[in-house]
Symmetry: C2
Subunit: 336 residues, 2 copies
């Protein structure tokens, strides 16, 4: 183990260990010659500063806690990749926990991260109940929510404009001639999902078409759920010419159900998703969707968090980025 400590270095260098500390921290109050000599000796001895000890006295760990519902969900893992890389660039490391779509577990890992004295927490929450569940805790450590809107709540968050995104999606389908569009996967306990449905409903109203929503009582938007919902729907005859899904993962599940039923996409049925996960671009999937700018979300969340770490008393801020249509080949134009 790297048992070389400041003291050891100091002894060898023949200076006090405060001097070594100063040499390494780039303090101005030290002679250039001593600094160089000390730094050289540190290297020779293979000294690496002990972050734990430093954290102890600085009352700052430079660790950011990241809580995601499930790291193996493509949207989450793409976000995590961006977050980790940018965080490191900013001098932070990421401690990652899965909440596994469980409010209690979410709270538990939140506390755990607090006990670890992380400087801040980025949270992709389980759902809108997370706010109530966590509000005593979020008051105690800088926290930024990603994705789940906390619209009128005193929390920091970044997200895309979900309503606008779904509105764009609906209008796009309409522009292709679709008049009967099914919305699939509205999650009950998620403000994000509420806002997405709203976008769909708004557009329907504006365009004068009849809305039709299949809700999702599961806390997650997985392939499996999309598959199950679509399968049930396909059991009986249906008249929709397009399905708009609340998430790409759901849409991919729909593809599966459609495939089994012999329904061809886009020939027999048009399909859209939301998120633009990387798999949606693959030709066998080739899903038209609404893009969430993941890297921008990650950067915005981290900037917001770091800002708040530096000024804990600042008031809450919200950043809403614009989603954009990504047109691929899962939708076709139909005659009137």
């Amino acid at each position: 183990m790297g048992v070389v400590t400041l003291k050891d270095v100091a002894k060898v260098a023949g200076v006090s260990y405060a001097t070594v500390s100063r040499a390494l921290s780039g303090s101005p109050e030290i002679g250039e010659s001593t600094r160089k000599r000390v730094v050289r000796i540190c290297e020779e001895m293979g000294y690496t500063p002990n972050s734990v000890a430093r954290s102890m006295v600085m009352k700052r760990t430079n660790i950011i806690g990241l809580i995601v519902t499930s790291i193996d969900n493509p949207f989450m893992s793409e976000m995590t990749a961006h977050l980790e890389i940018y965080a490191r660039k900013c001098g932070y490391n990421l401690m990652v926990c899965n909440s596994s779509y469980d409010l209690n577990l979410e709270k538990e890992v939140f506390s755990l991260l607090m006990g670890r004295k992380v400087d801040g927490i980025i949270l992709i929450p389980v759902g809108n109940e997370s706010y109530d569940s966590l509000k005593n805790l979020t008051a105690q450590v800088p926290t930024v929510f990603i994705g789940e809107n906390m619209l009128d709540l005193p929390e920091n968050y970044v997200s895309v404009d979900n309503t606008n995104g779904m509105q764009q999606a609906t209008e796009y389908l309409y522009s292709l001639g679709h008049r009967s569009i099914l919305y699939l996967g509205a999650r009950e306990k998620s403000m994000t999902h509420q806002l997405r449905v709203d976008g769909y409903l708004n557009a329907c109203k504006k365009l004068g078409i009849e809305p039709n929503v299949i809700r999702n009582s599961d806390p997650r938007s997985s392939f499996r759920v999309g598959y199950a919902l679509a399968k049930a729907h396909f059991e009986t005859p249906f008249s929709e010419t397009a399905i708009l899904c609340a998430a790409d993962t759901l849409a991919i599940g729909v593809i599966q159900a459609a495939y089994e039923k012999g329904i061809r996409i886009p020939r027999d049925l048009s399909l859209m998703g939301f998120d633009n996960i990387s798999f949606s671009a693959l030709p066998p999937i080739d899903l038209t969707t609404v893009n969430q700018p993941k890297q921008e979300l990650a950067v915005a969340a981290l900037d917001m968090l770091i800002n708040r770490i530096k000024k804990p008393e600042a008031s809450h801020t919200k950043t809403i980025l614009s989603p954009s249509l990504v047109i691929r080949n899962s939708c076709r134009a139909i005659g009137d």
Copy 2:
């Protein structure tokens, strides 16, 4: 911030702070009545122990560093999910870093994690050069390699039997009547990939068929790479009836290239992968592949690491799990 410390609690409880510490750590040398009273007061005051301070004195952080090439690769993110959940169950948290397929970065984050005094490191290495690059560091902190075989090297690792897996795959294709099988994606600087190709070559020899290997000079096995290699291959007429890919992600890239070329899978061409990532099960992909038991790998790696943390002087151990064929619908039987 949770500024309540042991001292504060001790003051309120009217005991020394060592007593509070004992009450919480479940020490036997304390009266049941005092313990109860102290614990109650801790709760009332909202005291949470400071892990950093504890780490400082215990010389143990209960943090495990995880270095992956890229967390948004499906294989990695599935592994990470399993690792995080099991680690937490064992009392550890995960600090995750991407090496971004870069040996220097890999070394850099490794040092960084050491400075953080993580108790151990789990590493999905960039390639076989990682061993040399890191050997001075791995000697200083318990480390377990996942995936990349360190066959004759003094390191701890867990992996599947890659050679056997590819042998099974090749034999399966042979059993379907394939006699001209292309192996796609052998990565130069990876022992794992070397072992996989070996499995293919062994099988070819044994079965008396001519091997044919397309190598991959890129450090990663991504969709993009699979697509590019296949596209180049499809440019000119080819006689293979099956392609065996070094990874599922490569195979999915091949699907894309085949699709663009009008080559139907499995009708015109059979295709196999390796890893069994979750996407491979989706009907539009529906890839026959070789399963890596990810959860078992994660558990084995963590058990091995924890074991080594407890007995740092123990000799190196290696665990090799068995891969298994997962038959889906990307391969068809052909006549002789």
